[in-house]
């Protein structure tokens, strides 16, 4: 998709004014957080499993070349084919070649963020192959012609009233009198409409949550069962996966599965975890006749061995965005590409460049909640700071912020001057804000005060208060 990450500030500004979006985002704030906590509390071994999950990925990443070779050999042994692709264009062409060889006219699709990353739907449409998204959330955004706003709940920004009007617009063959205001009715209608599409499709495309080197297996984790219908009914099953999805064994996959659903939706396990190995066997009564894996690099190999390697542990659970106050406020579209929230702020500049996405790592309050909940213990705030440093070094920071940071650095290196300046500032602000205890409008801080108030300082600097406290308790300042 065409990235608009460079326009994060404008995107976010619009999002904050969008009342429909703000209403929809309320469901994220209330839904995911409690459920994850409860699921974690029910499993005493949860924290230990997080450590083990991290260790599995660290080991795999350190041997990624070897595990991928091993994985490929196993896929081939089982009658499947791996298509290595260095970039998005190679991946699109590989999918197209397979579709052409089968004279495919429609392709059903399970949810895949890699497919979004390589903008597969637009490409297939241009080539005369109709892509049909089957995950309910993906289907909704496909008919709305929008990108996903969340990696596991792509239509989380849409209200049910909006879905109703989209369904009425697109499903014109159904009675205009039908009741359609309840989620149950909407889910039923999607089920009914998509049923025929599964049966008619020539090719089924899914993503992969894991690739297993031991057996040459791809794994999808879903709740709806759409991925299974997508990959079972057509002539060919195409898996689109990025390099870092590989894990060594079925046991390793099981350990990570124990933290995945709990972190993502607060379920103990998703409804359907499906392990696919090769095409249907000679005497199987159903299943796809061909099995292809599009194995995509698209920037990942150059993250290995850098300070961003840890990001390759990500299992796309979405917990970091579910717990992010910035994501809650501005929604996923503000981030301007496929991956939103804290994981997007780190990953997007790696994949599409710091020139396009250099603003994203600034979209953080550094509250640290993302790192606290990330099942793979990815140090997201630290990596956002790495990007900020790079942005600063490359002189991409806007002049106003640059002058501010440089002025602060000048003062910070001169302690006496710093103390004098801060006590002056704090005293002034403290006095000015004395009456209400907060500001709703401050010069130079309009960006802050437009959507929240700035608390007025206590009138004395922290250092001054600390020194006084130490003296009182007899300690050295």
């Amino acid at each position: 998709m065409q990235a608009t990450s460079h326009a994060f500030k404008d995107n976010a500004h619009r999002a904050l004014q969008d009342t429909e979006l703000q209403r929809a985002m309320g469901h994220v704030r209330s839904g995911f957080i409690d459920k994850r906590q409860q699921a974690a509390d029910r499993l005493p071994e949860f924290e230990q499993l997080r450590d083990e999950a991290k260790a599995i990925k660290d080991h795999t990443l350190a041997h990624l070349d070897l595990y991928l070779e091993r994985y490929e050999a196993k896929v081939t042994e089982n009658g499947g084919k791996v298509h290595w692709c260095a970039n998005a264009e190679e991946a699109r062409q590989a999918v197209l070649r397979i579709c052409r060889s089968l004279n495919a006219r429609t392709a059903t699709k399970g949810k895949s963020m890699i497919s979004e990353e390589i903008a597969l739907n637009d490409f297939l449409s241009e080539q005369g192959i109709e892509p049909v998204e089957t995950d309910l959330g993906e289907y909704i955004i496909q008919i709305r012609n929008e990108p996903p706003s969340h990696i596991i709940a792509p239509a989380v920004h849409v209200t049910k009233e909006q879905v109703e009007s989209d369904f009425r617009r697109v499903h014109g063959h159904l009675s205009p009198e039908r009741p359609l205001s309840e989620p149950t009715q909407l889910v039923d209608e999607a089920r009914q409409v998509l049923r025929q599409r599964y049966l008619d499709a020539d090719v089924g495309i899914t993503g992969a949550n894991f690739l297993i080197a031991e057996t040459g297996t791809s794994v999808i984790v879903t709740n709806e069962g759409n991925g299974d219908l997508t990959q079972t009914l057509p002539k060919a099953h195409i898996v689109i996966a990025s390099l870092e999805k590989v894990v060594p064994t079925l046991e390793d996959c099981s350990t990570i599965l124990r933290v995945l659903a709990r972190s993502a939706t607060g379920q103990e396990f998703s409804s359907y975890t499906t392990f696919s190995t090769g095409p249907r066997r000679a005497d199987d009564p159903d299943g796809p006749g061909e099995y292809h894996v599009i194995l995509l690099d698209n920037g990942r190999s150059s993250m290995l061995g850098t300070e961003f390697q840890d990001m390759l542990r990500c299992i796309r659970c979405g917990a970091c965005m579910n717990h992010c106050p910035v994501y809650h406020a501005v929604g996923g579209h503000s981030y301007g590409w496929v991956y939103p929230g804290p994981m997007g702020a780190v990953l997007t500049p790696s994949l599409i460049g710091v020139h396009e996405a250099g603003h994203l790592p600034n979209a953080s309050t550094f509250c640290g909640r993302c790192e606290a909940v990330c099942p793979m213990r990815i140090p997201l705030p630290k990596m956002m700071r790495h990007w900020r440093e790079r942005e600063f070094e490359q002189h991409q920071t806007p002049p106003k912020a640059r002058i501010g940071i440089e002025a602060w650095a000048f003062l910070a290196k001169r302690p006496r001057l710093y103390r004098w300046a801060t006590s002056l500032g704090v005293r002034f602000l403290g006095r000015a804000g004395r009456k209400r205890g907060r500001f709703s409008n401050l010069p130079l801080a309009g960006g802050w005060t437009a959507h929240r108030e700035m608390p007025a300082p206590a009138g004395r600097s922290f250092q001054a208060l600390w020194a006084e406290r130490q003296q009182r308790s007899g300690g050295a300042p």
């Binding site: 070349d65 149950t184 709806e224 759409n226 409804s271 975890t273 392990f275 190999s301």
Partner: protein, 228 residues
């Protein structure tokens, strides 16, 4: 240069791979040892406690469970379930010897049965299971000549016949059994099924029956075999 060489070359450069750096041996050892991570305590129960955990976990995710004393009771349990759910007395059966051996005609003559992969108009399927995992109330099914995968997803109602001896504590035990039975290769599809199909995609509200089965019913046969 092929894309394969480009990608693998890039990986090797980033990882500073040296010949003789021992990496290959480490990978081989890891794949051979199949080390298990922490298996939660709750997955280490046995006997009735394990069965009870399985039932509770499955019911917790909206599956329903009937426990019967012997496999002769299965046909009656299936017919009762269909009646209670107001479904026609018709079912598509997996062509599996364990199911074929059941006294269908004798016990429930009015139940209309057919066999084979699922067709779009089939409303109810009855399949065996390969195993189950008590830890999360999960059923494990796989594809094969006697167990078409479409039966697990196309019909609105999926009835699974499970023997007590097939219930394991944790996923890892099922992998070992599968390796044993299939000599280290995987069937085309292994389905772990935990409750019926669901979605939260409309305003985060849970709805059952998104694309797969709306109902998942488990007939648990306690034919004297101990759970594993």
């Amino acid at each position: 240069m092929s894309a394969r060489e480009t990608v693998l070359g890039g990986l090797r450069r980033s990882l500073k791979r040296q010949p003789g750096d021992g990496a290959e041996a480490a990978v081989e050892a890891r794949l051979r040892s199949r080390v298990r991570g922490t298996v939660p305590q709750r997955g280490q129960l046995s006997g009735e406690a394990l069965l009870q955990l399985f039932v509770n976990q499955a019911e917790g995710v909206n599956a329903t469970v009937t426990r019967v004393a012997s496999s002769d009771d299965v046909p009656g349990a299936v017919a009762d379930y269909l009646r209670q759910s107001n479904l026609p007395l018709q079912a598509r059966l997996a062509p599996h010897p364990d199911l074929q051996a059941l006294p269908w005609a004798e016990k429930v003559p009015m139940l209309e049965l057919s066999e084979g992969r699922a067709a779009p108009e089939d409303r109810v399927s009855v399949t065996p299971a390969f195993a189950a995992v008590a830890e999360t109330g999960t059923l494990v099914l796989h594809s094969g000549p006697q167990t078409p995968t479409t039966l697990n997803f196309l019909p609105e109602t999926h009835v699974v016949v499970l023997r007590a001896g097939q219930v394991a504590g944790a996923y890892e035990e099922v992998w070992d059994r599968l390796r044993e039975v299939y000599d280290g290769t995987m069937p085309r599809t292994v389905n772990m099924i935990t409750g019926p199909s669901r979605t939260g995609d409309i305003e985060q509200k849970l709805e059952l029956g998104a694309h797969g089965p709306r109902r998942l019913h488990i007939v648990l046969v306690e034919d004297g075999t101990e759970p594993a």
